[in-house]
């Protein structure tokens, strides 16, 4: 079989720059649209790309369907976190949170609806926002990041209502406990703190690194990922990935994986986690590893499950990390394909 030799095309400056950009890209955050058909991904250059999941998953998908529909420059710094409400996409990174309308986002030259900055104590340096959390019951958004506080912003008026202080080092991740309106936050200081939103105070503190079963001093004490299921919580990072029973603050199961995990979530009867190794791990609550599915990025930073009821055919798990690719797992057991910036 003879292959035609490709004629060498001299790459212009722009293409070289783009290729270099893609080589060094990290996708930090993802968010699914309320209709379930689109996925937004934010990277370390401050760009947001909107991918069409329904086109990429349809039976006549071509190579172009795996490219983003639009890419626009959203922030000046990396976009560490994104969430979606039923009409807006909220993205945050370099100290500001911006809101975009999903209905307008596919049009060219989309501008943000609003941008807000929580009241920081010092105006010299603007700390980054690492995590966003929506509290649907009171229609507010919680931001947490470099200034070690949790700020609550009311989504209707845009005012910042509370600032919860307690962490001694910056906050990595947030989780919402459904039954009681409590928020869990985990940070660099190694403690998971539970805050009651009604009284705006810290109600429980779990210092993970102090427990022998899960602490790994050689990795540090930082908590990189947090997920909760009302009675149970799973957290990991420097210490080993552990399942905690919240009422008694006892660690019940330690998951035997050495690599620090950066994102964890509960799904049906499993716990999905992803981190430094390039696999998505499926754990059962008893601590057994049910499956380890390889992904295409060398390290994974974010997992997103599209469970929007409006698009059941787009129910997929997407994973992104230290590369320009977003892996799509249609059946959780294997990687179907990857979309890239």
């Amino acid at each position: 079989m003879e292959h035609a030799a490709p004629s060498p095309v001299p790459l212009g400056q722009a293409e070289v720059f783009q290729a270099l950009q893609r080589l060094h890209m990290t996708i930090y955050s993802q968010s699914v649209s309320p209709c379930g058909k689109f996925l937004a991904a934010g990277n370390n250059y401050g760009q947001i790309a909107i991918f069409s999941l329904s086109a990429a998953l349809s039976s006549e998908a071509k190579e172009e369907s795996k490219k983003p529909m639009v890419t626009f420059h959203a922030h000046d710094g990396p976009i560490y976190s994104m969430v979606s409400t039923d009409r807006h996409l909220l993205s945050a990174g370099d100290g500001e949170v911006k809101g975009w309308l999903w209905a307008e986002i596919l049009k060219k030259g989309c501008k943000e609806l609003w941008r807000r900055q929580p009241p920081y104590r010092t105006s010299l340096e603007v700390p980054e926002i690492n995590a966003l959390l929506l509290v649907p019951k009171e229609n507010s958004l919680i931001l947490a990041g470099g200034d070690c506080q949790l700020h609550t912003m009311d989504l209707e008026t845009g005012t910042f209502t509370r600032a919860l202080r307690g962490h001694t080092d910056y906050i990595h991740c947030l989780a919402l406990r459904d039954r009681s309106p409590e928020v869990l936050s985990g940070g660099e200081d190694g403690a998971v703190r539970l805050w009651d939103l009604r009284i705006a105070k810290e109600v429980q503190t779990i210092e993970v690194y102090k427990h022998e079963e899960c602490s790994r001093p050689h990795n540090g004490r930082w908590i990189g990922c947090l997920a909760t299921d009302s009675d149970w919580m799973v957290c990991g990072g420097g210490p080993a990935l552990t399942l905690w029973h919240l009422r008694s603050s006892t660690p019940t199961t330690v998951f035997p994986i050495r690599a620090p995990q950066k994102h964890v979530t509960f799904y049906q009867d499993l716990i999905l986690s992803a981190g430094q190794g390039s696999c998505v791990n499926h754990w059962q609550l008893s601590g057994e590893l049910k499956a380890q599915v390889p992904a295409s990025s060398p390290g994974l930073l974010s997992l997103s499950l599209n469970q929007q009821p409006a698009a059941p055919e787009c129910k997929v798990l997407t994973a992104s990390g230290n590369s320009c690719r977003v892996d799509v797992f249609t059946n959780l057991g294997y990687r179907a394909f990857s979309m890239s910036f």
Binding site: D231, W232, L243, H245, S248, T250, T252, T253, Q268, D269, Q284, L285, S286
Partner: protein, 204 residues
Amino acid sequence: MGAVTDDEVIRKRLLIDGDGAGDDRRINLLVKSFVKWCNSGSQEEGYSQYQRMLSTLSQCEFSMGKTLLVYDMNLREMENYEKIYKEIECSIAGAHEKIAECKKQILQAKRIRKNRQEYDALAKVIQHHPDRHETLKELEALGKELEHLSHIKESVEDKLELRRKQFHVLLSTIHELQQTLENDDKLSEVDDVQESTMEADSKP
């Protein structure tokens, strides 16, 4: 007859052509043999020709009857297939419903498994702690010991008090005796002195 156009005739003849290669020829032969029979001379020849014509006719009738039967059979096969098609559709719908049911059951089973695993995890932690009955028994035993020891302590304290009081009584009695003796001594001294002064007074 004139209403049927030539095209129709040709089309029909071409349509029937595949099957009717033999029949078409037979009918033409029949027409020719009819003409020959009309023109035949002798009796036997005519008779044999007549027989031959009858047999050709019956062959034609037979093949027509066969075609009619095949047509009937095709109609009934069609009905049969329709019925089977509808049945298969029903069973497909049924299978869809069963799949949905099974999916719900899977979700339920997963929830049950999750609950069981949560229970197991908590149970493992609880097992680390000692049994409640044993601890209660130990507590009771310790309580009894404590009571016993406190009784002993009380009785010892009582004894101590008693001894102390007795000693106190003893000592105070001794003291009083001492006092009384000293008083007596003093009194006897004073008496002696008085006696000596009285004697000194009475002498000179």
